[in-house]
């Protein structure tokens, strides 16, 4: 199997298929740890992980925090609302200060695309992208793929549809990169105004017909409609979205019987997904949350190891 040599995880676009497969395989090994009575291994003992969040996030931050703690790392959370960024400190200065504290890994969520790449370029310590603007959210896509692989046994050849605000979604972008590299067929489905022009060039199929997106799909990844993000919404009303694109029981009845329904959370019940579908037999939404911990443990472990790796001999 390929080895991991990157000190950072910034996105899936830059990774090879082998690297993604190594991440998923490593995550599989870490999943067992969370099923023990003592849910902890000493792999990152003495390491410090800093969660630096410029955007509100509960689930991703908590998931990273749980992952780091299960690896025995020390975790520090910096919420930007309460930090000196409000006094005008730049991203790079903040990063250098964290590095000067001798932290080992920064996990960053930022509202600007490319922020993680810039930070990684200026720091020697590891940077893990926990979502940057509309660009990428690699660990979310990895946990989506991990869940798919766990449920269906493979990624290669699967038909996966992504439904929702494709234009503004980093989850969609990371999923598309990862799924295409692993040989899945990807369809994106949204109102026309939420799909970038020329998006077919990425290698995905584009449709504005939800029936078409669900037909023959092995899995559907339902994105959250981010009505709070634009101020004035790009789409007329929530009701209208639900009527035209919402994942409902009636629509699923026309899809494959065992279609897998995923959602990165938090759910807007009755907007992008009906309540009975979110809680129904096809839904794997809570399993995604569980798998997110294993995936993030694998990411933290591999970047820490890559940064430390030097030339000493393996002795025993």
């Amino acid at each position: 199997m390929a080895s991991w040599g990157r000190k950072d995880l910034l996105g899936l676009e830059e990774l090879s298929r082998e690297e993604i497969e190594l991440l998923l395989a490593t995550a599989e090994s870490f999943k067992e740890v969370s099923s023990r009575d003592i849910k902890k291994v000493p792999a990152l003992r003495g390491k410090t992980v800093v969660n630096l969040f410029y955007e509100p996030s509960t689930r991703t931050r908590v998931s990273f925090e749980v992952a780091a703690k299960r690896l025995s790392a020390d975790v520090i959370n910096i919420a930007v609302e309460t930090s000196s960024v409000r006094k005008g400190e730049t991203l790079i200065d903040t990063g250098k200060n964290i590095q000067a504290l001798k932290a080992d890994i920064v996990v960053m969520r930022h509202n600007h695309s490319g922020a993680a790449v810039i930070l990684a370029r200026h720091l020697d310590i590891s940077v893990v992208n926990a979502g940057d603007g509309w660009h990428e959210h690699p660990t979310q896509a990895l946990l989506d793929m991990f869940t798919l692989k766990e449920k269906l046994g493979r990624i290669e050849g699967l038909r996966v549809s992504i439904v929702g605000d494709i234009a503004h979604s980093r989850v969609a972008r990371s999923n598309i990169w990862g799924l295409l590299k692993l040989g899945a067929q990807v369809t994106v489905c949204a109102p026309k105004m939420l799909i970038p022009v020329g998006f077919e060039q990425t290698g995905v199929r584009v449709t504005c017909d939800i029936g078409e997106a669900l037909k023959d799909a092995d899995a559907v990844n339902v994105l959250r409609m981010q009505f709070e993000r634009d101020g004035e919404s790009a789409f007329p009303t929530q009701m209208e979205y639900f009527r035209n694109f919402g994942i409902t029981k009636e629509r699923l009845a026309k899809a494959k019987k065992d279609i897998i329904v995923m959602h990165p959370g938090p759910l807007n019940r009755g907007i992008e997904i009906a309540s009975d579908v979110a809680d129904g037999r096809n839904s794997v939404i809570l399993e995604q949350v569980t798998n997110g911990i294993a995936v993030r443990m694998a990411v933290l472990f591999l970047v820490a190891q890559a940064r430390d790796g030097n030339n000493n001999e393996h002795t025993d």
């Binding site: 009575d37 291994v41 792999a43 430390d308 030097n310 000493n312 393996h314 002795t315 025993d316």
Partner: protein, 179 residues
């Protein structure tokens, strides 16, 4: 790497394992509460074989588990070739069991130290014993084996290579020298 000598051949490996199986049964007075836990990678195959030997002798099947100690190593940051993390697969409760830990080569003792920590996180066994195919000396920790296939005095620039048919071409133990 220069191959210096072949220390054990197929028959010698089999005889060693059979003797160790007898010793385990003698010391534990049978298979009551007995479990084997192999350390990945080759220890896991040796544990499986010891299970077969014990089955031949006692007509009893003892449970076998596989331990991955990557996350418990103290030299993770020192290893050039990063090990791939694999799953620990111990499907039984180890609390109050007599555990025989199985590995191919006992050298510095650091792998065994890591394995003991890993086992303790999974439960509280009544005893933990250690079985190895080869003990090559040069301990860095106060660790000793309860069952040894062969004691082989070595120099530090030599490497002991255990080959098993499950992974390699044949069953044998080879000593090689750097340079």
């Amino acid at each position: 790497m220069k191959e210096k000598a072949r220390l054990l051949d197929k028959e010698a490996v089999e005889r060693s394992l059979m003797r160790i199986a007898h010793e385990i049964l003698e010391k534990n007075k049978g298979t009551q509460e007995l479990c084997l836990v192999g350390i990945r990678t080759r220890g896991a195959y040796l544990a499986k074989r010891l299970q077969g030997c014990i089955e031949q002798i006692e007509k009893q099947t003892v449970p076998v588990g596989i331990l991955d100690i990557t996350l418990y190593r103290d030299d993770l940051t020192l290893i050039a070739q990063q090990p791939v993390v694999h799953k620990t697969e111990i499907e039984f409760d180890i609390t109050d069991k007599h555990i025989v830990l199985v590995d191919d080569v006992l050298y510095t003792g650091r792998t065994v130290r890591a394995a003991l920590d890993a086992l303790m996180d999974l439960g509280r066994p009544k005893t933990i014993q250690l079985a190895v195919l080869v003990d090559r000396g040069h301990r860095e920790l106060p660790v000793r084996a309860d069952y040894v296939g062969k004691n082989i005095p070595t120099a530090k620039n030599e490497t002991i290579e255990v080959r098993l048919r499950e992974l390699d071409a044949a069953d044998e133990v080879i000593i090689t020298e750097k340079g």
